[in-house]
């Protein structure tokens, strides 16, 4: 009972703590890991850019935090209250006080078909043919890439929900200084052209399908027809056949127990295709969490089993559609290696 009272005392002030927490505390806890403590970007896009803050409204920031960008890395923060999100928005705005633009309702009367053609001509080289954005994450300090900042997915349901017509009009008109985004005038685009492009972007609102998460197991398991030693050799051979380099073979508890005392019935085969790894890291530097590639062979109750992670299921953790596609291919590769090694 005393423990419950103590826990009650500890828990009771929490809502007050959360309610009084400054935007900075909430930002540091929830946003800084991706966007940086000072908003310079990282896995997330840079937020402290004056040209960004002067073109987006507080409503845009609020909606972005609340709904995220489905399939485009930025998660939806459903766990935060409206008050907490507003505090974060105020903190972000404090980097450039008075920068919030005054949004008035803008009605777009554009030619969608012409807008699509203009988009392909002037915008698609960065934003993609279908406005799907450039691959990768916000800004990458860790490896070279084509664009210094990930071009946003303008067809994304989260983006279109957050972005007002006024904001789109302003951004295309002014461009974004400090990013590759040029102003409309510098590209020779007139006001009518911009309206046409926005009309084309808006048509994605009706077409966007929600991103489904497949209910899959996080592991791939297959029983082997061979003994442990043969299965291990088969896995190595099959992995090599798929252009992977065997980088290490070790016992599961190797390094955790004294040398010579390892459980020799559990063997890990690590392998890597560095070209594939480089591509995956360019799409999302966090993917190393599930690398290097490995298959584990286990002798259990007289049977030999081969187990591996399921990349398809894991890619959903990253909210990155580009990575989903790659992980789907990777799952197929894992299954082929395991099948070849066990049957």
């Amino acid at each position: 009972m005393k423990r419950l009272v103590l826990l009650g005392m500890l828990l009771f002030p929490l809502p007050l703590v959360a309610g009084n927490a400054t935007g900075k505390v909430l930002y540091d806890q929830n946003c800084a890991v991706c966007h940086g403590y000072d908003g310079h970007g990282g896995v997330g896009v840079p937020l402290a850019l004056p040209a960004f803050l002067s073109t987006v409204s507080n409503d845009f920031l609020f909606s972005t935090i609340r709904n995220g960008r489905p399939g485009r890395v930025m998660p939806a923060f459903r766990n935060l209250s409206d008050r907490q999100i507003s505090a974060i928005v105020r903190y972000i705005r404090s980097w450039q006080p008075g920068s919030e633009p005054r949004d008035s309702a803008v009605t777009i009367r554009g030619d969608m078909i012409r807008g699509g053609k203009l988009f392909k001509k002037y915008c698609a080289s960065c934003h993609g043919d279908r406005a799907q954005g450039s691959p990768g994450t916000g800004v990458t300090f860790s490896r070279p890439r084509n664009l210094p900042i990930m071009a946003p997915a303008l067809n994304n349901s989260g983006f279109l929900k957050a972005a007002s017509n006024a904001m789109l009009l302003r951004t295309i008109t002014q461009g974004r200084k400090g990013t590759p985004m040029p102003s409309a005038a510098s590209m020779g685009l007139k006001q009518k052209d911009i309206h046409d492009i926005i009309a084309w972007l808006r048509h994605f609102e009706k077409r966007h399908a929600s991103r489904k998460q497949e209910k899959e197991s996080p592991v791939i398991v297959q029983e082997s027809s061979y003994d442990l030693k043969t299965t291990v050799n088969n896995v190595k051979q099959a992995a090599r056949g798929k252009n992977f380099r065997i980088i290490r073979v070790q016992y599961l508890d190797q390094g955790l127990v004294e040398p010579g005392k390892e459980d020799r019935r559990k063997v890990i085969i690590y392998f890597c295709n560095f070209n594939l790894l480089n591509k995956a890291l360019a799409l999302d530097p966090r993917v190393g969490l599930f690398l290097p590639c490995r298959v584990t062979v286990i002798e259990h109750k007289g049977r030999v089993k081969v187990v591996s992670i399921n990349p398809t299921m894991l890619s959903h953790l990253f909210n990155n559609e580009e990575l989903d596609r790659m992980c789907k291919e990777m799952k197929q590769t894992y299954m082929e290696i395991i099948e070849e090694a066990t049957l």
Binding site: Y37, P218, V219, I220, V257, D263, Y270, P285, L291, T296
Partner: protein, 155 residues
Amino acid sequence: MRNLARNCLGGLLLMLLSGVAMAGTGRILMVRSPQMFPETMITLQNTIRKFGYKISRVQRVDIGLTKSGYKTDRYRVVFFGKAGEVRKIANRYPQLAAYLPMKISLFAEGRETIVLAADPMMLTRVVDAQALRPILRRWSSDLQKILEIVRKSDD
């Protein structure tokens, strides 16, 4: 029942008070260390050991990439665990061996370092056994505490 309530409340408190971000749609535990990569690596390894785990090896992802001709900043994966626990779980639930031992990835981001791990509670999607939950909950709690210490390390 009392233990279950204690564990649940402990986890809730940890989540509410720590700055460990739960990124994405699932369970990635992720922090930004204000320290540069080498200092973060030292802090991380020392902290892992303080929690009673043994580091089994460090995978130098960046070395493999640069040797193959790709450009990358520093990127490592630290594997760790407690021998008894790893053996016990792998013996009882062999399908979980794919995720053992635990690991934390870290990569340089300018003068700071990103440190991340998958939440072990994710493994309840593979095996949802009552006997397994306490240990996964403790691993999850330890990981969050380790990452929080790394996040608050001095620059």
